[in-house]
C-alpha cells in the first residue's frame, strides 16, 4: 500500500483511551450519586396518592378557581404577579451597579472579578434563606416576598446585563465624539439606546421565571399562591391544589406568550 497512507493511518488520533476514561468517570459518578437515593418510605400507598394528585389536577375545584374574592385563585394569581413584577424591578435595579463593576471592558480585572464573586455568592444562597431573612425585616407577607424575589433575580439579571455591556458597539460613541458630543451626551445617545432595550428584555425574561419560582415564597410565608397550595397538598385536598395549579399554568402560558412577543419586538423592532 502507499506508504503515505499507512503513515497517515498510523498517526490517527487514538481517541479510545479518552472515550474509555470519560465512560469510566461517568459510570463512576452515576454509581456514586446512586448511593444517595434513599427514602423514608410512605405510610400510604404511593400509587394511590399519585392517582389522586392527577385526578385533582384534572378536576380542579371550580368554585375556588373562579372565586373572585381575596381568597380565590384569581386574587392569589394577581398577588403573585404583583410580587414578581415589583421583585423583578427591584432585582433589575440592584443589578445595574453590580453589572457595571463586573463588566470586564469597563473596570480593571481585579474589581470585575470581585464583582463576579459577589454576584455568585448572592446567587448561591437558596431562595428560602432570603425569604426567612426578609420576614425578619418586614414581617410575613407579600412585601417580604417581593424583596426575596428581587435579591434572587440579581444573579441572573446582572449576568445578562454584563453580557450586554460587554457586547456594546463602541463605533457609535466614536461618531458622536467626532460630531462634538461631551461625555454625558455620548453615554446618553451612544450607550443608553443600546443598553435599555437589552435591559428591558432581560427584566421581562426574568419576570417570566420569577412567576414560576413564586411557589417557594408562599412556603416560607412570603405571600403568593405558594402557601395555600402547600396547605391544600398537605391536607390532601387535591381539587383545591388542582385549581391553584390550573390557574398557575394558564397564567404562566399567557405571560410567556406575551413576554416572548415583547422581547422579539425589542430585539427586532
Amino acid at each position: 500500500m502507499n506508504k503515505r497512507i499507512i503513515e497517515a493511518y498510523e498517526k490517527r488520533p487514538r481517541t479510545w483511551v479518552y472515550h474509555l476514561a470519560i465512560a469510566v468517570i461517568f459510570v463512576g459518578l452515576m454509581v456514586w450519586s446512586g448511593s444517595a437515593v434513599e427514602t423514608a418510605g410512605t405510610t400510604m400507598d404511593g400509587g394511590e396518592i399519585a392517582l389522586n394528585v392527577l385526578k385533582g389536577i384534572f378536576q380542579p375545584d371550580l368554585s375556588f378557581l373562579f372565586d373572585f374574592s381575596t381568597k380565590g385563585v384569581p386574587y392569589l394569581m394577581l398577588e403573585t404577579i404583583c410580587i414578581a413584577f415589583l421583585g423583578t424591578i427591584v432585582g433589575a435595579i440592584l443589578s445595574i451597579p453590580l453589572a457595571f463593576i463586573s463588566a470586564s471592558n469597563l473596570t480593571p480585572k481585579p474589581i470585575a472579578f470581585a464583582g463576579r464573586i459577589i454576584i455568585m455568592a448572592v446567587r448561591t444562597i437558596p431562595a428560602f434563606v432570603y425569604g426567612l431573612m426578609f420576614i425578619r425585616v418586614t414581617g410575613p407577607g407579600a412585601f417580604a416576598g417581593l424583596l426575596t424575589m428581587g435579591v434572587c433575580s440579581v444573579g441572573m439579571i446582572s449576568k445578562m446585563y454584563i453580557e450586554a455591556i460587554e457586547d456594546l458597539d463602541t463605533h457609535v460613541v466614536e461618531s458622536l465624539d467626532a460630531s462634538g458630543c461631551d461625555t454625558w451626551q455620548k453615554i446618553r445617545y451612544g450607550i443608553l439606546p443600546q443598553l435599555l432595550p437589552n435591559f428591558a428584555s432581560t427584566a421581562i425574561y426574568r419576570f417570566d421565571i420569577n412567576l414560576r419560582d413564586a411557589t417557594i415564597l408562599g412556603m416560607v410565608g412570603a405571600g403568593g399562591f405558594g402557601a395555600p397550595l402547600i396547605f391544600a397538598m398537605n391536607a390532601y385536598r387535591w381539587n383545591e391544589a388542582g385549581a391553584i395549579l390550573a390557574g398557575l399554568i394558564i397564567l404562566i402560558l399567557i405571560i410567556e406568550f406575551i413576554s416572548t412577543k415583547i422581547r422579539v419586538k425589542l430585539t427586532r423592532g
Binding site: 463605533h171 457609535v172 467626532a178 454625558w184 445617545y189 443600546q194
Partner: protein, 262 residues
C-alpha cells in the same frame, strides 16, 4: 482651508503614522486619499478633527491650530467637521430620524439633550437632510432594518444635519457592494457640488477615486507621494503609491483590502 505643515504622527509604540506631511486643501475641494492598508490614510483623516493627535508640525483648519484646542473648544470645532465611517456607526436600535437628530445634541440645552426632546424645527431639518440623500420615506423605520447603503446614507444625513464645512469620510464604501457604493459616491459628489462642502475621502477603490474626486492624494508609509488632479493619475503614479503592486491594467493587488489600520 485645511493646512498641514510638516506634520508628523508617532504612535506610542514608536510607529510613525505620518511623516513630514505638507498639504493644503481649499474649501469646496473633493479629495480622495489612496494608498495601501496601513499607509496612514486613516491617520491623516483623523488628525483633522483630532480624533488622533499629531506629534510634530502644525495642522490648521481655517487658521485655527488644531492641537491648541481642548475640551469645549475642541467639541465646538468638531461641530463644523462631519465624519463618516466604514461601519456607518449608527445607533441601530432606534429610528432613522433619531439617528439624524443626534447631530443637534451638542448644541441643545442640557435638559433637552437629557430627555431627548427635539423642536419641530430640528425635526424638519433632519427630514430635509434625509430627503437630500433620498431616504425620506425611511425616516421612522428602525435603523437596523435598512440595507448597508441606506444606513450609510443615514450617516450622511446625520453629518449634513450638523451643517458642516468639511466632511471626512473614512472608507465610506468599503462595506458596500459596487452598485450601492456608486450611489453613495454620487451622494457625496452632489453634496460637494451643491453645498460647496469640502470632502476628504479615504478609499480603496482606485476607480471610484479617479471617477469622483477632483484631486487625488497618494500616501505611502506615512508620506505623501502624489498630490495632483485625478486626471493625471496613471499607471506609474499608482505603482509608486502602491509599492509596485499594480497589474498591467492598473488594478491594485492589495490582499488585505478590508483590514484598514485603526
Amino acid at each position: 482651508m485645511i493646512k498641514f505643515e510638516d506634520v508628523g504622527k508617532r504612535y506610542p509604540n514608536g510607529f510613525e503614522g505620518l511623516k513630514h506631511v505638507n498639504l493644503t486643501i481649499e474649501q469646496g475641494e473633493f479629495v480622495a486619499i489612496i494608498g495601501l492598508s496601513g499607509a496612514g490614510k486613516s491617520t491623516l483623516i483623523r488628525t483633522i478633527n483630532r480624533m488622533h493627535d499629531v506629534t510634530s508640525g502644525k495642522l490648521t483648519v481655517d487658521d485655527v491650530d488644531v492641537m491648541s484646542l481642548s475640551g469645549k473648544q475642541l467639541r465646538r470645532f468638531r461641530r463644523k467637521i462631519g465624519m463618516i465611517f466604514q461601519s456607518f456607526n449608527l445607533i441601530t436600535r432606534t429610528t432613522v430620524i433619531k439617528n439624524v437628530l443626534t447631530a443637534f445634541v451638542p448644541d441643545m440645552p442640557w435638559f433637552r439633550s437629557t430627555f431627548g426632546i427635539y423642536t419641530k424645527d430640528e425635526k424638519m431639518k433632519a427630514l430635509e437632510c434625509l430627503d437630500k440623500v433620498g431616504i425620506l420615506r425611511k425616516a421612522f423605520v428602525r435603523a437596523d432594518q435598512l440595507s448597508g447603503g441606506q444606513q450609510q446614507r443615514v450617516a450622511l444625513a446625520r453629518t449634513l444635519a450638523q451643517n458642516p464645512q468639511i466632511i471626512l469620510a473614512d472608507e465610506p464604501v468599503a462595506a458596500l457592494d459596487p452598485v450601492t457604493a456608486k450611489q453613495v459616491m454620487d451622494d457625496f459628489k452632489r453634496i460637494n457640488e451643491e453645498m460647496k462642502i469640502t470632502i476628504l475621502i479615504n478609499i480603496h477603490h482606485v476607480d471610484l477615486a479617479l471617477k469622483y474626486a477632483t484631486r487625488v492624494v497618494g500616501i505611502r508609509e506615512g508620506e505623501i507621494v502624489y498630490d495632483g488632479p485625478a486626471s493625471e493619475v496613471d499607471k506609474d503614479v499608482l505603482a509608486s503609491i502602491y509599492n509596485g503592486k499594480v497589474d498591467d491594467e492598473g488594478n491594485v493587488l492589495d490582499a488585505n483590502d478590508h483590514n484598514e489600520e485603526r
